[in-house]
Symmetry: D2
Subunit: 118 residues, 4 copies
């Protein structure tokens, strides 16, 4: 993991330790907390049209930013608990995706996209 994510990981460890909250941070519980934050993100978009979701007002954008942060925090915390290197995992997954969806084969239509990624 690179320097800054590494620093955040350590900061979150200290945050939990200082509050004796480590006891609640089983991977099972952290996965639940993460999906709850993901849903708070979804809630911001549920009644918007797609194009509206791409041009949020400042207040709403600031709230969405906090939801993204919450998701990232639980993701780092969960990876730490499972001893997973997030950035390595991401790079590995992108390579898998590049082989799974060759650009020349899947270029274009929504139908193809849906079929390939469903």
């Amino acid at each position: 993991m690179e320097e800054s994510l590494e620093q955040i990981k350590q900061r979150l460890r200290n945050f939990a330790a200082d509050r004796d909250w480590d006891q609640f941070h089983s991977p099972k519980n952290l996965a639940m907390a993460l999906i709850v934050e993901a849903a708070e993100l979804v809630e911001h978009f549920q009644w918007l049209k797609e194009e509206e979701s791409a041009s949020l007002q400042n207040q709403k954008l600031a709230e969405v930013e906090q939801e993204l942060a919450d998701i990232q925090i639980y993701l780092i915390r969960l990876a730490d608990k499972l001893n997973i290197d997030l950035l390595s995992a991401v790079n590995h997954k992108i390579e898998l995706n590049e082989r799974k969806y060759p650009a020349e084969r899947v270029h274009g239509s929504s139908k193809k996209y849906t079929d390939y990624t469903a």
Copy 2:
């Protein structure tokens, strides 16, 4: 955003552009895709006891690693689309949490934890 997340952001941009998939990546749709990946993570833990979730076998751990990667990928992609700097957002949120939950006040019991964070 630091160097490596920045590189992944760019790599994901190219990945979408090469496949003409950008058209599907509205923030609304990306938020949906993110929560679907979060649920695939939750699925791995749903019938496990908390302590079992902390000691996964290799095969299961590798699957969980891929789910974490998928969540991270959609999170980077969504932040990119909304022009949000993920790491800044995280550091800002941690500062808010440090003020919201002072260690000396919330130290300890599950009840307190639940009350403060619910």
Copy 3:
């Protein structure tokens, strides 16, 4: 609870008892299982435009029907475990909503809808 939901509740009890699966059905675990099924539903819609989501092809519609069934099953099971009468809860909630969102005040625009229900 009315006759048929009551019958399904009993059938699901027997199903779990016959397999000795009751031990896994804590409310916590059932809530996780329910959201996993909800995400499988969301997955069907994540790349579709809103109008496409309203005119699904037969095969897709049949899959969505199974997801709705899975959600309903876990909902009935969870209500049973918590000794909650689902239909009473629903009728009570609709009354609350009718008072919270008076038709003459919230009629119309998406903005109002978003504000009132966010």
Copy 4:
């Protein structure tokens, strides 16, 4: 669909029509709203031990009851929009499950349960 669910379906139709909210109720949006409610349910349980989740205090139980109601409401609404009969779908799915997980074969261990239902 049996009498009472049928009545609720009609009542929810009127509720949306009276407020001109039907325009927001695409299946895509309703699926998002449903998972958001499912997450509010999960949030009540995320830091609880399994056994705690089975013995909620009155106040918490009342809140959980409202979440179950919200999920049921969106489920009925979504089924209505897709012209799906919820109870038929459930009965059909239970029959599939009974064949997929024969009691004599899957009786017992968590490992089996996880394998069979993952």
